[in-house]
Homo-oligomer: 243 residues x 2
């Protein structure tokens, strides 16, 4: 069944009024009156609708059923990545959206090589990638991509969550599975991963002091764009959102 | 500590004789006699060595300790992917090696758009990507990349493993976590994912008849290059190889 986000949709009573680009979209998809479509409001709600009529300017659909989007995980995971170089950030955004991230932020820290320049353009680009990935993977929301500021700002974002993970490749760490096993019911989580150069020791210490779980993810060294996807998948698995 | 694969290394008694490209590598790394290095034989064994001498032609190192490479998972997972288009296969190879795959194969099936052409060149390329990823992530082996043949050949590879997973996006499926929960001690596993167009229904039926677990991975639709990484990570997590 055709499924799309319709930010511009008005759901009035039992009827969805589709205008502008969304109406054109309906035409492009050659949807005919009587056909069923799923209209997602981008807020986690799916409207199962039957098309009543459609022309280039406007389409109207009868709402048959309103359901929470089944693709949305029970846990809202904020993924925070140390700003990586080049297109690694694009990759991280796309894959984290597919894997179920609630929102994705980038921050600068001690070993970041990439400079936080042209952020406005980058955020536009990342948000566009997130929207495409959300549509493709059938998400119920378009995860927000944002600039999380410096390392301390990232920690401040993390401490507000039920589950706080800080992935670190050396030293004394908790086992990821042990931590996740004790937090299966978390409703909000934050996952912090470093840039190419990883984290400085003082950053890991600071994270621990702030109450984050400093975790290992096994002995394999993951690239900075791979680590968030793997850690996010572990969270989805542990919280029953991968079945 | 410097760590590298040395296929050309002879370990005779307590001494590692390093020749050819590997010896040059030692020079490039500017390693001096007395320095410790880890020499991995690419078979899952690490040799902790101390350099005795090194010139452009040959280097010699005293073996201090021989240990199984800690980065190697306890479960050997064969990842089989329906041949995808373009560079998605490169991506799948790189990420699956990082995530701990034992070997990676590609096969052709009903909905493959990509043609299995120039396979020799492609296999060379994929193997090179696998080797780079293995070195970068500190693996103890260089996972083999191979052409798995057609769909039935892929099934034949899978049925020989302890744990056999077939990831399918629709219809009646088992929950991935339920299946993995019952197979925590698997020593060998095979993971089959489809190409861009997914699997035909008859292929899923055939997989089930052959005794594979036809599994779901949640409601989010993953790209063909993302699915193997996510599924592999779930296996690593469930078998205790992600902590």
């Amino acid at each position: 069944m055709a499924r799309f986000f319709m930010a511009g949709t008005n759901i009035l009573g039992g009827t969805a009024i589709i205008r502008g680009r969304d109406a054109e979209h309906v035409k492009v998809l050659r949807l005919r009156p009587g056909e069923d479509v799923i209209i997602c409001d981008g807020q986690g709600t799916d409207y199962k609708c039957r098309l009543v009529y459609a022309d280039r300017e406007q389409a109207e659909a009868e709402v048959i059923e309103v359901v929470p989007c089944p693709a949305e995980p029970s846990v809202k995971v904020t993924v925070l990545c140390g700003l990586p170089k080049g297109d690694r950030s694009d990759y991280a955004v796309q894959k984290c959206v597919e894997a179920g991230a609630y929102e994705i932020g980038f921050f600068s820290c001690a070993r970041c090589v990439a400079k936080p320049e042209n952020l406005e353009k980058k955020l536009e680009r990342w948000q566009r990638i997130a929207e495409e990935a959300a549509k493709q993977s059938g998400r119920g929301i378009i995860p927000r991509v944002f600039w999380a500021g410096d390392f301390t700002a990232a920690l401040d974002t993390a401490v507000k969550k039920d589950l706080k993970l800080f992935l670190y490749e050396t030293g004394e760490r908790e086992a990821l599975d042990a931590v996740l096993g004790e937090n299966k019911d978390a409703e909000t989580a934050c996952l912090i991963v470093g840039p190419e150069g990883g984290f400085a020791e003082f950053e890991a210490k600071l994270a621990k002091v702030c109450g984050l779980h400093v975790c290992s993810m096994g002995e394999r060294i993951l690239r900075c764009e791979t680590a968030p996807v793997v850690a996010l998948t572990a969270i989805m698995y542990a919280t029953g959102n991968l079945s």
